[in-house]
Subunit: 170 residues, 2 copies
Amino acid sequence: MAISMSSASLPIFRTMLANLSHLLDKGLAHAQARKFDPQVLVTYRLAPDMLPLSRQIQIACDAAKNGVARISGVEAPKFEDNETTFDELRARIAKTLAWLETVPADKLDGTEDKDITFPVGRDATRTMKGEAYLKHWALPNFFFHVTTAYAILRHNGVELGKADYLAGAK
Amino acid sequence: MAISMSSASLPIFRTMLANLSHLLDKGLAHAQARKFDPQVLVTYRLAPDMLPLSRQIQIACDAAKNGVARISGVEAPKFEDNETTFDELRARIAKTLAWLETVPADKLDGTEDKDITFPVGRDATRTMKGEAYLKHWALPNFFFHVTTAYAILRHNGVELGKADYLAGAK
């Protein structure tokens, strides 16, 4: 079957969010096994002016959710960004996945040339065509935050490998 | 125009490889401005058993090159993985980009259901359909190494922001 706007978006977000949840599982298990406070990982940053693990997870979720919402025109729930524990972050991923399941594929299909306008920073918007927005904004942004979450955990000694990132718990 | 296997692959690899080269420009300029040996960045790892910056660049290039080669059936040149400086790493990206320019889009189109067999580790191969291979292997792997390169530089104080990652020097 020919690739489509839905097939080029939904399965990537779903798979990688599930894998991201798996990375958190391993992060929490590592903290418990080593008997240190898991919050050390939740609040860890790779640089003082980078975002901590908790924000990486929230933004990865929103990159998927808002990306799909903008392309499809289906309204997405707003989440409060109030997660502060591994359990809450896993729940954030789970509710993002649950919402993605409700978006009909055909709302995404045929949107290649649709104008998508989205906020950039606090005071500006940007407009891109649907396909360009998916390829050059939503997906790179999504992968950025998933990979940065991986890097934060890996940097702190969590035993992760490429298979965890690509295939999660499978 | 409808999204296609070529439009869902080549522009992403091209844009992000150009952005990756821009990240290296800023990394080298940072080392020069701060008067430390740029090789410190080239050999830096986020964890003792993670790959250094040089390998992140080489693998990002190969994820793009080998991904496109396997999907299109166009033979790719083999690169030696012998880059040890910023200049050599930027040249590696440039020659990967130059090769991508030679691949006709129509060799990629219509490959959604084509069987792609590729090495996994030293002793095994894996087979996936073309579209699944692009979405669940080549692209995630590519973004992983581009983002990890960003994280290495950012962790070491290079002034990078999301705009550098998403839009490079543009």
